[in-house]
């Protein structure tokens, strides 16, 4: 089924891109209302530093978190989701949802930046564009499930979204679908380098790889929960600057030339005073085992022994430069309807080197003359790949992990790869045994394709080739439940993965976004454009 294969691949592309964007500091994916006691400034330019160019600006065709952060200034969604998961009004003033359908009643005052009126048909066509496989939207299967269809009643201003299967996150997913106006729908190429939405800011100048300037959308009054654009401290314009270098971002923050930027590592030491911060949890220590037959990770004894022989506390300190914390689950992005739980504690083995060696011994892995264990003539050789992300601490962490595993009798080959090559190894060649790959999700359903179902060679995204029947059963059951009802079942699914140590979250790290002389609300990497405020410095 080419369509299925395509959808799965697209989902993989999108989620990885989302994750990698977060990893490279491309946007704040936590929730925050930065606060300050300073007085509002009188107009001016709100300046935001992004780590890379957003590329294609068509919101239906870009999975990049950097792009989505920027496009959230120019595009609205039917509804918005608060930090605590509560859904509030956006383009729709009212809504009703079941696992199979959601109905949205549009506000009657919504105007597009080009002056046209947004209709229910326009909104429906946005959803249908993503779910039409011919359009090859990378958001298909990630933000919107395959098979979802929408229809619009222009007279009544009602949009109905239907799912062919029960989808507990149908309403939530609509809080992530940016709505493009008719002009952009009719000519998608026109919005590859420009914007045509209803959002509070409209792109005025685009200089790829350098900066993007936005001006106010006059009369904007349909923000989250009816928020308007205006009031004390509202900037006259927004300038998004592309600054790939973290040191330069720190310098710009210090000199006050940008108001918001991500800074991690040693440069963060310079930003202690005068800043508010937005912290984002990243699953940077997720340790993926290749379960393909013949690989060491296919043997559950090896997975358990390696996890048991790892001092995860020490590893977290070293690999994050003291900026890490123990993992509590696989879903770290906010808003997460199932947040607050802890599926990891108690489900990972305690650090015990002798127990780890015993496990290997009992599992038939005998030490040779050179100290390397082997079984049935196959040595315990592990190809460990990771993305250093330009952080020395991460490399030091990988070396520590390798030394701990070598103490158990494994031979570890470390390979630090750029992100593109890492992904090529994971999804293409399959020539790896263990990997640190950062995947960041805010819905448990987004993870399913990566840990179950077809492998990349079969047209899927399950690159570690995990076969965990309990997880698959729990995930299928959870998908049909609505909202928080599904959380315990999703938690069971995660625990199923942890019990088999199919995937081991060894530690998380904290990505820091610094804010100076400004306030903003950012939820799940999407900026609420009407919330931008400049403060007197």
């Amino acid at each position: 089924m080419p369509g299925t294969r395509h959808a799965a691949t697209a989902a993989a592309v999108a989620l990885l891109a989302l994750a990698s964007g977060c990893g490279s500091g491309g946007g704040s994916d936590s929730t925050s209302d930065s606060t300050s006691r300073a007085e509002p400034a009188a107009g001016g330019t709100f300046s935001l530093a992004l780590a890379s160019d957003p590329g294609d600006l068509n919101p239906a065709m870009t999975p990049s978190s950097v792009a989505r952060t920027m496009l959230s200034l120019a595009y609205d969604t039917l509804v918005f989701q608060r930090e605590d998961g509560e859904i509030v009004s956006g383009l729709a003033s009212r809504w009703e949802a079941t696992p199979r359908s959601a109905t949205f009643t549009l506000r009657d005052d919504v105007q597009c930046a080009d002056g046209s009126r947004l209709t229910a048909s326009d909104v429906a066509d946005n959803v249908n564009f993503i779910t039409n496989p011919r359009n090859r939207s990378p958001l298909l299967g990630v933000l919107v499930n395959p098979g979802v269809r929408a229809s619009g009643d222009d007279a009544a201003g009602v949009v109905t979204v239907r799912s062919p299967t029960a989808d507990g996150f149908l309403l939530t997913s609509m809080a992530s679908v940016f709505i493009v106006c008719r002009g952009g729908l009719d000519d998608p190429r026109s919005i590859s380098r420009a914007t045509n939405g209803t959002g509070p800011w409209q792109l005025d100048e685009a200089v790829p790889d350098d900066h993007y300037s936005f001006v106010q959308h006059r009369g904007y009054a349909w923000g989250p929960d009816g928020a308007r654009l205006g009031g004390p401290g509202t900037p006259d314009s927004v300038n998004v600057r592309i600054v790939p270098n973290i040191t330069t971002t720190a310098n710009l923050l210090l000199s006050g030339e940008v108001n918001v930027g991500d800074v991690n590592g040693p440069d963060a030491e310079r930003l202690r005073d005068g800043f508010t911060t937005i912290d984002t949890i990243e699953t940077s220590g997720e340790t993926w085992f290749n379960h393909t037959a013949g690989r060491p990770g296919a043997d559950p004894v090896v997975r358990r022994a390696l996890a048991t022989g790892t001092d995860m506390t020490e590893l977290a300190n070293v690999a994050t430069g003291g900026n890490g914390q123990p993992s509590r689950g696989f879903i770290t992005l906010q808003p997460n309807q199932c947040s607050g739980g802890d599926t990891v504690s108690g489900n990972l083995p305690a650090f015990d080197v002798e127990a780890a060696k015993t496990l290997l011994e009992e599992g038939g892995w005998r030490a040779g003359a050179d100290g390397v264990r082997s079984k049935d003539g196959r040595a315990l050789e592990i190809s460990f790949i990771y993305d250093a992300k330009g952080q020395d601490a991460r490399t030091a962490g990988a070396e520590l992990l390798a030394s701990q595993w070598e103490d158990l009798g494994a031979k570890v080959e470390l390979r630090a790869l750029p992100e593109a090559q890492l992904n090529e190894q994971l999804f293409g060649t399959g020539a790896w045994d263990v990997a640190w790959a950062t995947f960041t999700f805010n819905l448990p359903s987004q993870m399913v394709a990566f840990v179950s179902g077809p492998t990349p060679s079969e047209g899927g995204a399950n690159f570690p080739a995990i076969r965990n029947e309990q997880y698959s059963a729990d995930a299928a059951r959870a998908t049909g439940l609505v909202g928080k009802e599904s959380c315990p079942v999703w938690a069971d699914a995660e625990v199923a993965l942890l019990r088999e140590l199919d995937l081991v979250p060894m530690f998380d790290s904290v990505n820091k976004t610094y804010v100076k002389n400004a306030e903003l609300t950012s939820v799940g990497g999407q900026i609420w454009g009407s919330s931008l405020r400049l403060l007197a410095g």
Binding site: I242, E257, A420, N423, E424, P456
Partner: protein, 330 residues
């Protein structure tokens, strides 16, 4: 009729002189160099191990996308066909399309090249305007072993400034003038004030090196018989130095100036990255990291062509200043 009668011997003299051969050799050398450059930039894609499109788009990219881009880049054609298409595309101003930005490479280059050239031109201008007077003045002041302190101070200072890499100087200037004193923008292009740090960072080292060369050349010229004769004729010192000495000291200066100009072009790559200048440097670095080969090809070609053109211009300028070199060459 009369003008023809006058011009014909002049043209004959030019054609029978060393200039046509000199210019012909130089142009031929330029064409050969350009051909090597074009061929090298073409081979960049083919020297990459594995599939360059797969490497650029990532393993997650669908087979359809990869096939589409391979077709768009013509990578499925025979190598010679690809080479022919590439060269003919260059003649039509086509450098391909960026895999990362999804924009024509030439559009990106044409938008950013002026910013890079602006830095190079201003840095070179500053370099010459500082180095030539400074070197000449120091030569006059320290000739015949006078003012040893000035000589030592100048030499030591010049050596120190020459050894500081331009990107390190840029970092220091950003820290001092941008972050600490908040006198100048720390990054980007926000007006004329944004030019100060990158131009200083690029110009200081070469200016120090050039000033030393100007001083040494000037000292050599000041010891020549014709300068002594000019002095004996009691010509005003300004006339002796500016009219008789300085022009003769500039031959080597011009040669070194050409080298400095080409090094400034290369130097912009790092300095522009330090201060996030919207020139070609940051785009080149990001394109290399992202394996955006069409963009890398295009920028390498542009940098290379700039260097070759500068070399040609310096050669011609040298020949004009010192015609003997033309004769020797020919």
């Amino acid at each position: 009729m009369s003008s023809t009668a006058i011009d014909a011997p002049a043209a004959d003299r030019f054609l029978s002189g060393p200039w046509p051969r000199f210019l012909g050799r130089r142009l031929l050398r330029l064409l050969v160099s350009l051909w090597v450059l074009v061929t090298f930039s073409f081979l960049i894609v083919h020297l990459v191990p594995g599939d360059p499109v797969r490497a650029a788009l990532g393993a997650r990219a669908s087979a359809t996308s990869v096939a589409e881009w391979e077709a768009r880049l013509g990578l499925n054609d025979p190598l010679l066909t690809q080479y022919g298409d590439y060269v003919s595309g260059l003649f039509q101003g086509r450098l391909g399309e960026s895999l990362q930005l999804r924009l024509p490479v030439w559009d990106v280059i044409s938008e950013r090249l002026p910013n890079t050239l602006q830095l190079v031109a201003l840095a070179f201008l500053l370099c010459v305007l500082v180095a030539v007077p400074l070197g000449a003045l120091l030569a006059i002041r320290t000739q015949n072993g006078r003012h040893r302190g000035s000589e030592l101070g100048f030499t030591a200072g010049a050596v120190v400034l020459t050894t500081i890499p331009d990107f390190c100087l840029a970092v220091g200037l950003v820290a001092l003038l941008g972050v600490s004193l908040e006198l100048l923008p720390v990054a980007g292009d926000s007006g004329a004030s944004s030019l100060v740090i990158p131009v200083l960072a690029l110009a200081v080292g070469p200016a120090a090196a050039l000033a030393r060369i100007v001083r040494v050349e000037m000292l050599g010229v000041l010891g020549q018989d014709y300068v002594r004769t000019a002095r004996a004729k009691r010509l005003p010192p300004r006339r002796v130095y500016l009219r008789h000495a300085l022009p003769n000291a500039l031959t080597a200066t011009l040669t070194v100036g050409g080298l400095i100009l080409t090094s400034l072009i290369a130097g912009t790559v790092l300095v522009e990255n330090v201060i996030a200048w919207p020139g070609l440097g940051p785009t080149l670095v990001r394109s290399i990291i992202a394996k955006d080969y069409p963009m890398v090809q295009g920028i390498v070609l542009v940098y290379g062509t700039l260097v070759l053109l500068v070399n040609l211009l310096v050669d011609v300028a040298l020949a004009l200043v010192d015609p003997r070199s033309t004769v020797r060459e020919s």
